[in-house]
Amino acid sequence: MGMTLTEKILARKAGVEVLKPGDFIEIEPDLGLANDITAPLAITGFRKAGGKTVKYPERVFLVPDHFTPNKDILSAEQVKILKSFAEEYPGIHFFDQGEVGVEHALLPEIGAIQPGMVIIGADSHTCTYGALGAFATGVGSTDFAGFLLTGKAWLKVPSSIRVVFKGDLQNWVTGKDLILNLIGKISVSGARYKALEFSGPVIDALSIEGRLTMANMAIEAGAKNGIFRVDQKVMDYCSVKAHQDQFNFDADYKTESEDYERTVEIDVTGLRPQVAFPHLPENVRNAEDGRQIKIDQVVIGSCTNGRIEDLRLAAEILRGKRIAKGLRCIIIPATPRIYTQALNEGLFTVFLEAGAVISPPTCGPCLGGHMGILASGERCLSTTNRNFVGRMGHRESEVYLASPATAAATAVTGVITSPEQVEAVPGNRITKGDARDY
């Protein structure tokens, strides 16, 4: 039996010929990240363990994105811990306000992520980087402290599920709809402890942004990591050349179906825009089933759907329209670069004229932090990734998850609305939606 893509990347890192699911390995990851919530605990652990040096400071990324701009004294104190730690150990990458964006949008954008890397992050959505052909998985603060001290981490090799997407994608059906559909089919624990490997003609045609959205939500199916094969789009996106020695693309992609625990085939022909209803990402239905549900707030942003393509998609629908009376629409470009790009492309004018609010890059409302918290009984349709009880505010509020197109259509009508039910006005610079060829 051969090895899957995930197993091959881990075997190379562990310096062994063969790995099988269930093996424990101790490795030195190529990159580790933590944020304003998880890094303070790790730094405390580092100090308690008598840490005097950081093993590989240049591999360490500290991204205080969750409560930025600092929402109160306590969160400002947390960021101060990160900042002084980065000052104490030169080489550590630290991003202050003005540079900081949502970590999983920021790191791929600045070129920190390369195919074939092994990455641990003290944040569950670290799995996002699998879109670029890296093995990337979420860990905890103590794991991160161990990485600071020794440069090491322990991992159990996951078995892999192969998901093949086939068929013809309809207009307005995006990477978000594909991943929601999959989670609806296999449940929030359907890939627990496992790798999800995405492939098939639909994936080949999908943009990098769409793939990042899908890999991001692998954790919502319980997966350890999500992974995509590296094609020309990934090579271009990452400007890959230097790393080709690390990564033997041809050999890595020769896998057999028996290497996988199972294969899930999804025919996307006829798939409609999807919405996950409260309170689990697996409660997935067609967007048009939500026509009776009145929405109080729409959020477009986050590590799932706060990239430029997402904002363009939303603008295509919001152009020349008004947000429904009584609904708040909050738009959060995920990084300063995306923010600038949206500004230069004139998307902000579209959003502001429609009556939306534009937030600085932050996680903010995605985790119920700040910048758009829900009151009791309020309902939010959001492009984020979790709709647990109390996730965005009061325990009696509700969160519905959908694509930026569905979110924008809903913002216009005030009830959950499939994008095809609203007339779109493409602008000069608007590219096609993220699940279509570009």
Binding site: F24, I37, T38, P40, L41, T44, G45, K48, A49, G50, H66, F67, K71, D72, L74, S75, Q78, G121, A122, D123, S124, T126, G138, V139, G140, S141, T142, D143, A145, G146, L149, T150, K152, W154, V188, S189, R192, Y193, G222, K224, L280, L367, G368, G369, I373, R386, F388, V389, G390, R391, R395
Partner: protein
């Protein structure tokens, strides 16, 4: 190591936002976190826990975010052990890494009710249920037992 205590029962897919809502994550002080443990899913939980108690839960306990604040909050309410039908991956490793004993048993949750008293021997994997029934759970692999016996991942690394 034997843990004897009162059982608090939880269902499937208990997520980290339920265990400790993100609005309290602007601190990592375990005592403050413990006060808000399970606040949205079972208000008043923190005040109710008898030290040394056991959580028995269904599948996929601890799904959601990577926040180590979740097992930390539970530990500091006085919960001594969690037995669930299954755990979400990051929660599982976080609990091991901070030295909170957790183990998987698919049978337990259906055989007990809230408030029952049970005992678990972590070394042999035997769980004594009310009414005399004994369940056994598979022992941890050696590698993980070494981490637990040294009191967590950091002490383990230090001892290498």
């Amino acid at each position: 190591m034997i843990i004897k205590g009162k059982v608090y029962k939880f269902g499937n897919d208990i997520n980290t936002d339920e265990i400790i809502p993100a609005r309290y994550l602007n601190t990592s002080d375990p005592e403050i976190l413990a006060k808000h443990c399970m606040e949205d899913t079972r208000p008043g939980f923190a005040d109710l826990v008898e030290p040394g108690s056991i959580i028995a839960a269904g599948h996929n306990f601890g799904c959601g975010s990577s926040r180590e604040h979740a097992p930390l909050a539970i530990k500091h309410t006085g919960i001594a052990c969690i037995i669930a039908a299954s755990f979400a991956r990051i929660f599982f490793r976080n609990a091991i890494n901070i030295g909170l004993p957790i183990t998987e048993s698919a049978q337990l949750v259906d055989r007990i009710k809230e408030g029952d008293r049970i005992s678990i021997d972590l070394d042999s994997g035997k769980i004594d249920c009310p009414g005399g029934e004994v369940l056994s759970v598979p022992p941890f692999p050696e590698f993980m037992r070494a981490i637990i016996s040294r009191g967590g991942w950091l002490p383990y690394l230090k001892g290498l």
